[in-house]
């Protein structure tokens, strides 16, 4: 079986003369940008280049109707992964078949919707249906056809006997125009005169739908006896069936020899079909329309208990008989033939090459892998092939602004490379809003992707800082556990406080909790704000204790001590004594520490600043001394 080999398609880019210029490019998320350029130009002006062109590969993701396909099949996929391995195989088979049917119904629903939309467009006076639409519908038709056949042959694995029944169903499902024609004929004034009358009867016979054929034949009262002669296929044991069938076959043959139908050429034709006369069958190519219909009909009337292993022989010969020698088999034909040959790998390979989108091969291969159908071929590639296709499909989804969330589940079920692919791609999801960022973060946190979590939080923090949203920046750095950045932002808060006398984002700072411990500066910010709160609530002694500890426990940066001491002033100058004697001593010690040694006057400081400082220090010393006196007195007094 030759592989479907395909030449790469060439996409023209307007306005670029490929004979004289080069085509520059850059990869983007889901697209590739190309532009006219000349590599190795020496910097001389060679004329402007007007355009940068955005080239895309998959249009499927953009279609809103196909999006439903992706969403719903994702649902089925996740359910399939959850099927437990330890179920008895008979139960599993029924489940797999039902899942396969689910997938197919999703495809059909999608097709119907596409056709509905087309119908609406056609209804309008200027409605034109784009060729892309036809392409999508025909691809879905082909996909469903192939999937259905794979379900019959591989998943359901029908044995001889029921195999043919399933194949008949398959053909009938995909040749629905017969019923329409029949309706037309039966609803007309004189059905037997209708030009399509015999076509309908013969089509029914070709499809093995004897009841319907009989019904239509009944319209001709004269033919009633003939109608009764139709054979009915039923569910019996193979041997029983075989005997009965042969018996019937001989009877029909005799009828032909007897020329009992000589009067009516149409009936004679039908009779010949019933004995499986291949030439007559081929005369009705138009009604059969496909070689596989021909195959199934042929089997129906010549070899109804065909075994799966014999199928490929009949398939090949049917195809050769049906197609004329000049026509080359299309990719679809090769795929179906490979299926009849039970060459699953070939089917998958050919579908991958022939189809634009990975959706079909990825889901079908996954299902067949669950049915353990791939392992029997080549153990090494069995599971790798499934993963390869799923990764391709999911990577394609990731470029879409909402479908990327579906892709996550697919990656989760690729044991070898899923995680690393997810790590790589989830970082690239644009963080347009906080909500989206949180969504991405949740996914990363659930999977312990700590580096990605850190990176995303850092990006958000940096963005918030750029836009001067300090509160947001701080909460993102805390989430990123980025101590350095948290320190930076705390500094900014403190600077703002010094400049404006008030804190912004109080809610955030008040509720830091243990996150405060991330960085020293952050701890200070939190505690400092707590001090202000205590002061505001008039819990003066608690506030005082806190204030002092900020300095003695070295939580406060030295540059801030002056501010803290100044904050202590109102507490010192209260009527009642707040700072104890010991505490006052400590404050004094801090003041001395600050004013000696470290504080060398900077050469560029204005005289005014120095004066202010000196005054402040004097006021502080005075207040401290007075407080000390009051404290000593208070502590020394015995209550009578």
């Amino acid at each position: 079986m030759e592989e479907v080999d395909v030449e790469p398609t060439t996409t023209p880019i307007p306005g670029v003369d490929s004979n004289r210029k080069h085509l520059g490019f850059v990869w983007g998320p889901g697209d590739i940008l190309v532009y006219e350029t000349i590599y190795k130009a020496s910097g001389l002006s060679t004329g402007g280049c007007p355009f940068v062109h955005e080239v895309r590969k998959d249009e499927d993701i953009c279609s809103p109707i196909l999006r439903k396909l992706f969403n719903e099949s994702h649902h089925i996929f996740v359910g399939l992964q959850g099927i437990r391995d330890d179920l008895p195989s008979k139960n599993k088979k029924t489940q797999f078949v039902s899942i396969s049917k689910n997938y197919r119904s999703v495809i059909r629903a999608c097709m119907e919707e596409l056709q509905q939309v087309a119908g609406k467009v056609e209804g309008k006076s200027d409605g034109r249906i784009s060729p892309v639409f036809f392409l999508q519908v025909s691809i879905l038709l082909a996909v469903e056809l192939i999937w259905n056949l794979c379900e019959v042959l591989f998943i359901d694995a029908a044995p001889a006997g029921s195999l043919l029944l399933h194949l008949l169903d398959w053909v009938r499902l995909h040749k629905a125009d017969v019923d329409e024609k029949a309706r037309d004929v039966l609803q007309s004034e004189s059905p037997t005169e209708h030009q399509a009358y015999w076509d309908v009867v013969i089509s029914y016979v070709l499809q093995g739908r004897m009841d319907e054929a009989r019904q239509v034949l009944m319209k001709q009262a004269a033919l009633q006896p003939a109608a009764r002669g139709m054979f009915k296929l039923g569910a019996q044991t193979l041997t029983e069936f075989d005997v009965k069938w042969r018996h019937w076959h001989e009877e029909v043959d005799r009828c032909l020899q007897d020329q009992s139908f000589a009067s009516n050429p149409h009936l004679e034709v039908i009779c010949k079909i019933l004995v499986g006369d291949e030439d007559v069958l081929l005369e009705h190519k138009e009604l059969l329309s496909t070689w596989y219909h021909f195959l199934v009909t042929r089997l129906l009337f010549s070899h109804p208990i065909v075994k799966p292993t014999e199928l490929h022989y009949y398939a090949q010969s049917s195809m050769h008989m049906f197609l004329d020698t000049r026509s080359v088999p299309e990719p679809l034909d090769s795929i179906l033939l490979a299926a009849f040959e039970f060459d699953i790998h070939q089917v998958i390979k050919d579908c991958s090459i022939a189809l634009n989108n990975w959706w079909f091969v990825a889901h079908l291969t996954d299902l067949m892998d669950h049915c353990k159908l791939l392992q029997s071929h080549n153990l090494h590639f069995g599971s790798n092939l499934r993963e390869f296709l799923l990764l391709e499909y999911a990577s394609g989804l990731f470029t879409h602004h909402s479908l990327w969330q579906l892709a996550v589940d697919y990656f989760d079920h690729c044991p070898e490379f899923g995680r690393v692919y997810l790590e790589l791609q989830i970082e690239r999801v644009p963080l347009d809003t906080e909500r989206k960022a949180l969504k991405v973060l949740r996914i990363c946190e659930q999977r312990q992707m700590t580096e990605q979590v850190r990176s995303i939080c850092k990006i958000m923090a940096k963005g918030a800082l750029r836009n001067n949203r300090l509160g947001s920046a701080l909460s993102w750095s805390i989430r990123a556990k980025d101590a350095a950045f948290a320190t930076l932002i705390s500094e900014r808060f403190l600077q703002d406080y010094c400049a404006n006398g008030a804190f912004s984002d109080l809610d955030l700072i008040d509720n830091l909790g243990s996150a405060m411990l991330l960085s020293d500066r952050l701890t200070f910010l939190g505690k400092y704000r707590e001090f202000h709160r205590l002061y505001g609530e008039k819990c003066f002694s608690d506030a005082a204790k806190l204030l002092l500890s900020l300095m003695t426990a070295k939580i406060a940066p030295r540059t801030f001590w002056m501010t803290l001491l100044t904050d202590a002033l109102p507490l010192l100058e209260q009527k009642e004594v707040i700072f104890s004697a010991d505490q006052t001593h400590e404050l004094m010690f801090c003041l001395e520490d600050l004013t000696s040694g470290n504080c060398l006057p900077k050469p560029d400081r204005a005289m005014q600043d120095e004066d202010i400082d000196t005054t402040k220090i004097e006021i502080l010393r005075l207040a401290l001394a007075r407080n000390l006196a009051k404290a000593i007195v208070k502590e020394g007094t015995v209550e009578v």
């Binding site: 490929s18 590739i32 644009p430």
Partner: protein, 349 residues
Amino acid sequence: MFLARSIAADHKDLIHDVSYDFHGRRMATCSSDQSVKVWDKSENGEWICTANWKTHSGSVWRVTWAHPEFGQVLASCSFDRTAAVWEEIVGESSDKQRGLRHWIKRTTLVDSRTSVTDVKFAPKHMGLMLTTCSADGVVRIYEAPDVMNLSQWSLQHEISCKLSSSCISWNPSSSRVHPPMIAVGSDDSSAVYSGKVQIYEYIDHTRKYAKAETLMTVTDPVHDLAFAPNLGRSFHVLAIATKDVRIFKLIPMRRDATHSSTPTKLEIQVLAQFDNHNSQVWRVSWNITSTLLASSGDDGCVRLWKANYMDNWKCTAILRGDGIPVNCSHDVVSQQSLLTASSAERKLS
């Protein structure tokens, strides 16, 4: 593939490089008209030019974005022998430009004595590091020790490749098993027999970069090279643009502790070689998941290459100029599906 959109770039001269930012929402273009333009993607997918300024006094060859963890930062390099770092800042509320964003130059790197041919940021796990290579064959690695102050950059390493350099690529792997690795390509046409691709590795012990390997089989001028994203593999994949497209597999050999002051020994294998461009190949680049490689050549085409699950490489698509002058944006639908299902029933009224 099909053309989705055409953007009127409006540069006054040839565009030499286009670079997407990390999230694919912003784009920078640079040109022989000495300017850089920054574009933002709006919600409906249209590109809007939000900045346009003169960056150098010669053709600007390449422009590249830093990782968004470091803010909105661009680097450019030029024929004028310099590379520059730019940062976008938001106007302070006290300014007249409150809330307006604009780009300012943070630093100019003037160490090169010849045209600077490529500029790339190192992988983010290494910090904020910028690398340049010049026609004089020197690769320079700069670092900004304080990421909040982008005007301070220090030259950490100077690697003399001895051949005129045209391109650099960092190995993006952040795995602890792989020390930092950079590949340098040379387009020197005078040194006929020398290998034109050199691979340098950072040695912790000596705190310097040492040459790990020269690809001796690549003797023609190299115009571009690109490491593929790592994806958890133990080996590295490097694509080279030379007289053909070549993909190499570099397998680090196991090493013991005693050799930790020398670079890792690498086994070199050729994964694929394509000469479909029939001539010089000028650019190669991997897509984000390293499942597709694109190349641009003298035949005026861009080709896409893909490996199937059996690791067989094939060309899957070609982009080629059609030579027809354009005056407005197109809507060309040229995708073809090979599975036409003409033998399947069409249920259309």
